[in-house]
Amino acid sequence: MPLEWILSKYNYWISAALMLIGFYTMISKKNFIKKIIGMNIFQTAIILFYISISDIENRAAPILVAGKSDYVNPLPHVLMLTAIVVGVSTTAVALSLIMKIYKEYGTIEEDKLLEVR
């Protein structure tokens, strides 16, 4: 029974695991690009979480089709489109900052930066 319960919610487990992986990467990796990769994993995990809560079993995608009356909740998908845009812009700002940092210091490793500063 517990195994079944765990398996039936596998999308939430995957999303929680991805969140933790992303969060850990953001705070533990010394390389700035790796931090940004962690940030993207974290944001993607949240997108997966939102899409999971919108889904209802045996219901159609929210597109009007003849003969279907039950649809999944379309709102979280729309919210996540916005969140994707936010994620892309954050990544863009972060990457351009990293470029500037590399030009100024010649490195993007946190421990080496502390030495040259």
Binding site: K35, M39, I46, I53, A83, V86, A94, L97, K100, R117
Partner: protein, 489 residues
Amino acid sequence: MIQNFPILVVILPLITAFLIPLIGWWRKKYCLYISILSILSVFIISIYLLNSVMASGVVRYDLGGWEPPYGIEYVVDLLSIFMIILIAFISLVIAIYSKKSVEKELSDNIVAFYTLFMLLIAGLLGIVITGDLFNLYVFLEISSLTAYALIAVGEKRDALLASFNYLIIGTIAACFILLGIGFLYMVTGSLNIADLSAKLPEAYSLYPRVVLAAMIFFVVGLSIKMALFPLHTWLPNAYTHAPSVVSALIAALMTKVGAYMMIRIMFTVFGIHFVTEVIPVTSILSWVAAIAIIVGSINAIAQTDIKRMLAYSSVSQIGYIVLGIGLANSIGLTGGILHIINHAFMKGCLFLAVGAVIYQTGIRDIRDFQGIGKKMPYTMAAFSIAALSMVGVPPLCGFFSKWFLALGSIESGKWIFAVIILLSSLLNAGYFFRVLEKVWFGESPHEGVDEAPKSMLVPILILAAGCILLGIFVFIQSSFIKSIANTLL
């Protein structure tokens, strides 16, 4: 036209942000004037909105004609209009100040600076006016992203690292807030703040753990955004290395909007019963705030760079606001909200005055401030007024927020917080009098240093006058703020 005023508050700065690159491509100097014009019109609109809120209660605006809770709703209540007027006024003053400072510090990036400046204002105004949680998240990200860029726009080496550090920590906070919103949406199926607060008690009885998790994510995320100790590590570097205008802007407004979000989510969404009795998050916050007040002040004493000293002083002042939220009684919350406006004026004035000194002389080390008061008397007089107000000398405004906070802590039977407020006032006096003594009673080694230009001096003096007037006429705003606090509790 008039019924569309709530949306215009956000749309005007947003459109201006898109117009500025076009106009700047033609004539760079017009960027400033169009920004000032746009903020001024927001300020006039907000005065009108204040009138209609006072006359007929909460003003609601449905975006695109979609009825709430399905569509996005903008809600202008007393707390929102208070924050809108504060943001519009402070950013107007800082925009006037920015002319000379930006010409000198960011001469290559004038157009980019004003574009980001207007986007930041649009984001902050959006946060305080929206009645929809996801919309709040989007505006939060707009204001945060522009703040990261504005800190780095000066392209000093250290500013880049400070900005990157802020970006990483700020994104973690935003992700936590987004998760919190997701948990609330999961159990209530609603994103509208008014609708959520009506549905939450029932949702809590069905799914207590989910609501608790949402609460924790919100509190941690917002604490990072408003730099509450011990999650303040991004703040000192960001404030120290940013251009002077940006330091003043984010010190006066960004963390205050964080405090607004915390008040809104704790008291409007979750409700006073939930945050004080179901889980005692307010009493935890008040203890954290008490530690923040002391640690921030002690750190400020240890600094030699004046901007870093002011930054650590901000950490301690955030503690006062959170203490007001944590006390969660009428007088305490009044003190907290009063400190939002008072601290915006005081810290804005201090950062602008320091910016003027850096503009004229380039000095930042407190030991070099010897006798600068004789060379720049008006700037340093304003600095002294704001500093005395931070210490809490009556009748300046800083005294009254501390007074209300102390009364609030005594009323809820927590004498220890009143003692902490007194102790931190002494610590404040310690680090400000150290500067004031150098400024006024030293022999000046600065030859040929003049008073700051008028376009910088006038905004500084306006904010200093604000510190005095907000103190003398405290009964007007305190009765207004008390009615805000009573609607929240």
